[in-house]
């Protein structure tokens, strides 16, 4: 076996594979460049690994270490190191609000991720059917949404949903519904719904673009074969698109989960985690303890807990990843 990897289980389906594998050529190559071949992966990985360990590893370790310290503003400025063991964790975990906040965060994340991925997938599949100018129009509109600075997007959404001057209420009133002066932010759930809409709106473009990249990578002959066999759209999707797309889909879902779990700015700018803490999620809690109250040690503990929870949420994906023979998913 050469150092070059074989692809996943889809291989047998490709009956029209152009080149038969020739062991001779592979063997010859191995004998010639073996030392370099063995080192190559590490060389390719080196810059990335160094970058990550240094620029992310250090700060992350620092955060973990900080979570065991009392680090308020004074200690930070004076460079004092005061160890308090698990006190920060106890403080956070024994706060009754913590569990409420965690559940809220998980539910919010799940809803946002599910919505963005499903809609993103639908749009990606749709894009394949479009004529080019329309597709580019759609891509540009999505790109503009994606690229809008957060200060602009949060403000525009607040204006649209404004109680008195918002265009949404005005449209609803024009359509005959009694929504004059209706407040969209009266409860935490309502507030999170609006914020969720904003996040979904800005998250779908990336998902649509990535999934589209995957969709057009599906070989046309597979679709032809399905067409010949008389499959319906849904059957084609299940038999052809889904298996091809699944790894990519799992991956972008995983990424979405990470990002949407950690969303902070939008939630803060809207209602600062209100009303009455009703839209407070874990990232908001981390901010409140950290920058806001300058309890950096406690904030670090919250960060660590967030990562732990994230790991728990994605553990099935992570385990599958490690279990597959070539670690490929």
């Amino acid at each position: 076996m050469t150092a070059v990897e074989t692809t996943d289980a889809a291989v047998p389906v490709r009956t029209s594979s152009p080149a038969p594998r020739r062991a001779v050529a592979g063997g010859a190559r191995r004998r010639r460049g073996s030392a370099f071949d063995r080192l190559l992966p590490y060389l390719l990985l080196a810059p990335a690994v160094i970058g990550i360990l240094w620029l992310i590893g250090f700060p992350v370790v620092s955060v973990v270490v900080t979570s065991f310290r009392k680090l308020d503003l004074g200690e930070l400025v004076r460079g004092e190191v005061k160890w308090v063991g698990l006190d920060n964790y106890t403080k956070v975990l024994s706060d009754p609000r913590f569990w409420e906040i965690t559940v809220r965060t998980v539910v919010f994340t799940a809803v946002v991720v599910a919505t963005s991925v499903v809609v993103g997938l639908v749009i990606a599949l749709l894009m394949r059917q479009l004529s080019t100018p329309i597709r580019i129009l759609l891509q540009v509109c999505m790109l503009l949404a994606w690229a809008m600075p957060i200060i602009a997007s949060t403000t525009v959404y607040q204006w649209i949903f404004d109680q008195q001057y918002g265009i949404l209420n005005k449209i609803l009133v024009k359509l005959g519904f009694d929504y004059a002066g209706h407040s969209w932010f009266s409860t935490g759930t309502a507030t999170l719904s609006v914020i969720g809409l904003l996040i979904v709106w800005q998250a779908i473009p990336f998902l649509a673009f990535s999934l589209y990249a995957g969709v057009i990578g599906v070989p046309a002959d597979l679709y032809e074969a399905a067409g010949i066999d008389g499959a319906t759209a849904w059957q084609t999707f299940r038999a052809v698109t889904w298996p091809e797309l699944k790894p990519l889909l799992m991956m972008v879902t995983f990424l979405s989960l990470l990002w949407d779990f950690k969303v902070f700015t939008q939630i803060w700018v809207f209602k600062e985690g209100g009303p009455s803490g009703g839209s407070t999620t874990l990232p908001v809690l981390q901010y409140l303890e950290g920058i806001s109250q300058s309890h950096f040690g406690v904030a670090a503990a919250v960060s660590v807990l967030m990562v732990v929870i994230l790991t728990l949420l994605t553990v099935s994906y992570l385990r599958k990843l490690l279990q597959t023979q070539e670690g490929k998913l």
Partner: protein, 428 residues
């Protein structure tokens, strides 16, 4: 697995080094050397007018050869983070401006220089009382007052005339009566609001609570505890609701005066009164030049006829970071800034000077007059470092107002819950 093991060893080594080196103190305080020096001054956006700072910097540079003033105007957005990191760096600025509600936090953590000994040099006798409280920590002064501003009731003189109101209200009863008159006179205008009062204007609420004799928090030993559940505080909250109900304001009950910006609503021309800062009036007129000569101000009325309600003194202090390398220069800069000459300019610009009791320059226009009249009765929020967290985080006062105004909670419940939250924040 080899990969994991290597990672673990590296991580342990990292932890040791990070714990030590990553938090080294902000530089050694070297002796001030001679030669050309730069004095870094950070003032906040909108504080001092450019005419003042230009003249000040020029005069300072003229009288101090070899010194250049590096003057930077800072924006308020993200300033907490910026100050935190700047003060821990090796080259912090030499003069900074801090909001008065932020000052106790920075003072108590030893990040500012103790200026008690220099107070006399900096016009100590003329310091504005309310601001002085905010920069005192453990009986030492960690800065000097810069300027203050407070809220007054900004109103439309033409609408008052049309409604038959001859004099500005000087008591709560007169105020409510004026609201009724305005409503009657403008009943035909569906967009009219006698008073625009959003639900979470907690600075305004402070005036009402103080006017009733209460406070948001009181000192209990060496900590502060909330006192929102006192009868006086409840009376203040109740009066807020009276105003909201009486005026029928369409303002949202779950935001403060910034969302939407109250001055823009006032600028639509359909609002007779708003409780705000002087610059908000300027902004309204800018948005709608028709309002130019039709506005004025009166102090927030008290429940007692003839008096003005105490007001929250929003303002700034000036301080020298503890790690500054140019302490003497910074002090002489501050001495210049606190002199009457420049304080008068602050007054002329429409703010209450921090180190001068002479408010004559301020009283040249009606808004300034109202400002000066109320500032004499100015107070600040509890001078505890924990207060900064209330403003930078989730403010229980705001939640309390919204809950009570929307009817979600009763008065007792709303104040009780807010009090518990406030005590937790101030104690923690």
């Amino acid at each position: 697995m080899k990969g994991w093991r290597g990672l673990a060893v590296g991580a342990a080594a990292l932890a040791v080094t990070v714990a030590g080196c990553g938090t080294s103190p902000s530089g050694t305080t070297a002796a001030e050397s001679s030669g050309p020096k730069t004095l870094t001054v950070w003032l906040m956006d909108g504080s001092a007018p450019t005419t003042l700072t230009d003249a000040l910097n020029k005069e300072f540079q003229d009288s101090n050869k070899d010194v250049t003033v590096k003057y930077e105007v800072q924006k308020w957005g993200g300033i907490q983070e910026k100050l935190t990191t700047a003060l821990t760096s090796d080259t912090p600025p030499d003069v900074i401006e801090l909001g008065n509600t932020q000052t106790p936090k920075f003072a108590s953590e030893g990040t500012l220089l103790d200026l008690t000994g220099d107070a006399a040099n900096l016009n100590g006798s003329e310091w504005l009382g309310g601001l002085k409280d905010s920069l005192t920590w453990e009986n030492k002064q960690f800065g000097l007052p810069f300027y203050a501003s407070n809220r007054t009731v900004l109103y439309r003189t033409d609408l008052f005339e049309a409604a038959g109101i001859t004099a500005a209200p000087t008591s709560n009863d007169e105020w409510l009566a004026a609201i009724e008159k305005l409503k009657t006179a403008n009943a035909s205008n569906p967009d009219f609001q006698a008073l625009y009062l959003p639900g979470q204007s907690w600075y305004t609420l402070l005036s009402f609570i103080w006017d009733q004799g209460g406070d948001v928090a009181k000192k209990d030993g060496d900590k502060f505890v909330g006192s929102l559940d006192s009868a006086q505080a409840k009376a203040g909250v109740d009066f807020y609701k009276k105003l909201v109900d009486a005026s029928g304001t369409k303002a949202p009950k779950d935001t403060d005066e910034a969302k939407p910006q109250q001055m823009e609503v006032f600028g639509t021309g359909n609002v007779a009164m708003m409780i705000g800062l002087p610059w908000e009036l300027g902004g309204a007129v800018k948005a709608n030049p028709d309002l130019e000569k039709k506005t004025s101000a009166f102090p927030i009325p008290s429940k007692t006829a003839g008096k003005a309600a105490p007001v929250f003194l929003g303002g700034s202090n000036l301080a020298i970071p503890a790690g500054s390398k140019n302490v003497d220069l910074a002090k002489s800069y501050l001495k210049l800034l606190s002199s009457k000459k420049y304080q008068d300019q602050l007054g002329a610009a429409g703010t209450v000077p921090g180190t001068s009791k002479d408010t004559a320059s301020l009283a040249s226009n009606p808004v300034g007059k109202a400002l000066a009249a109320s500032s004499a009765n100015g107070k600040v929020t509890p001078a505890t470092p924990k207060w900064a967290a209330v403003e930078a985080g989730q403010n229980p006062l705001k939640d309390m107002l919204t809950a009570y105004l929307t009817g979600a909670k009763s008065l007792d419940q709303a104040t009780g819950d807010a009090n518990t939250a406030l005590t937790a924040l101030l104690g923690g």
